[in-house]
């Protein structure tokens, strides 16, 4: 039987019948597994452990950027949300909302990317959906995911950990890379491949440290709003004043230069391959040494500590003065994540 190959995705592909079948076939070509191919209205999963359940939507523009694409982002982003809660990622749902006129070839590229990313993380896409909207009622393609992971043992359950004064703030590498690189592309500034998003899955960095060290108190990935936003959330949630040191912030040279050129503070720029770790003082150095051995942690640094009772974040500048790092209050540029 001849397979119909369209050049563009149009409203017909959202009809629920043969049109939609074209999209589903393409999805199955790339993401086939025992559950998905059943094409049931629901995926039936057999799980006994404590579950972590998360959801996210991805609306990034441009859809293809240096360091990744919206497909890869939707997988890694969801994996990371599970990993920072101590969960091993297992299953993903995947929903596409496609604006008519979107190229089939681009849709294929995104699916291939999703396949690579899900293989790397050992997760299965088990259920999904596709919708097509009229031109002008969407922007090329939006992706929604939800993810299920399991908390396999007590070590990985962070819910009862106690954050304390003196705890250290650790980050696994350079800040602001995703946000700044996407911003440069959006402003039409020609850049080469070295300037790219730090997009990466963090499960294989995070889960081993949870197994090895009891002193991990809290984890969060600084996506939208950057490190500054997450630190403010932590300071507020646990009622501690956090102080970070400008000298200790890991930051690639191109991020530094670009952020000066653009007038954006990298502390507020999004990261897609970074995790903030709040760790006990006595295990901090050991944790640092351990994550530095992981390719996603080579530039890890201890950047600050929880100093006192309070709820704000301060930065000690390189000239020795101290200033507030406030929560993000303005629109830097939309559609970075």
């Amino acid at each position: 039987m001849e397979e119909k190959v369209s050049e563009e995705i149009v409203l017909y592909h959202g009809n629920g019948g043969d049109g939609t079948k074209e999209l589903i076939n393409e999805i199955l070509k790339n993401l086939d597994n025992d559950i998905l191919r059943k094409l049931g209205d629901s995926a039936i999963l057999n799980l006994k452990d404590k579950l972590a359940f998360t959801t996210d939507s991805y609306v990034i523009s441009p859809q293809f950027f240096n360091g990744g694409d919206i497909g890869k982002l939707s997988v890694y982003g969801t994996v990371n949300d599970l990993a920072v809660c101590g969960a091993r990622p297992l299953f993903l749902s995947l929903s596409f909302i496609i604006e008519e006129g979107f190229l089939f070839s681009d849709f294929k590229k995104i699916l291939q990317s999703i396949k690579e990313a899900s293989d790397e993380c050992d997760i299965k896409i088990v259920t999904g959906d596709t919708k097509v909207v009229e031109k002008g009622k969407g922007d090329k393609i939006f992706i929604n995911t939800s993810g299920i992971g399991i908390i396999e043992n007590e070590n990985r359950d962070l819910s009862k950990r106690k954050v304390e004064k003196g705890d250290l703030v650790i980050i696994n590498g350079g800040i602001g890379e995703h946000g700044i690189s996407v911003m440069l592309e959006r402003l039409g500034i020609k850049v080469d491949e070295k300037i790219k998003s730090d997009l990466a899955p963090l499960d294989k960095l995070i889960l081993p440290i949870l197994d090895k060290f009891k002193g991990i108190k809290f984890l969060r990935d600084p996506t939208r709003g950057g490190v500054a936003t997450v630190l403010n959330e932590i300071a507020n949630k646990f009622s501690y004043e956090i102080e970070i040191l400008e000298e200790e912030l890991p930051i690639k040279n191109w991020v530094k230069e670009a952020s000066n050129i653009l007038g954006i503070d990298p502390l507020y720029a999004a990261n897609e391959g970074k995790v903030i770790i709040i760790a006990s003082k006595n295990e901090g150095e050991d944790i640092l040494k351990f994550i530095k051995q992981n390719r996603l942690g080579v530039d890890s640094k201890i950047i600050g500590e929880l100093k006192n009772d309070g709820n704000r974040v301060y930065l000690k500048t390189e000239i020795g003065t101290r200033r507030i790092v406030d929560t993000l209050k303005r629109d830097i540029l939309p559609r970075i994540c």
Binding site: I189, K190, V191, D192, K194, I195, K252, N253, W254, V255, K256, E257, A258, N260, I261, L262, G263
Partner: protein, 79 residues
């Protein structure tokens, strides 16, 4: 706004364009306001244009002035 920071010119291109080093990567700018620029020069970049070529001799001024001032204002009066 945006800080005009000194960036190194690594390659001159045609049409008054040049590549300046931006950390591990490059930025393309217009050199129409610094026509005498050479590869290896540092320029101040503002909104996509170089507006000044860094004068290396003058860079030392802060250090020199500090040394002089320390001598003048040192309470111990080291001449």
């Amino acid at each position: 706004m945006c800080l005009g920071i000194p960036l190194k010119v690594v390659k001159l291109k045609e049409n008054d364009l040049a590549l300046v080093s931006m950390g591990e990567s490059y930025l393309e700018i217009s050199t129409v306001f610094t026509p005498e620029v050479k590869e290896g020069d540092y320029v101040i970049v503002h909104a996509g244009f170089s507006i000044s070529i860094l004068n290396k001799d003058e860079l030392e001024e802060v250090n020199k002035a500090l040394e002089e001032a320390k001598i003048i204002y040192d309470d111990k009066g080291k001449g």
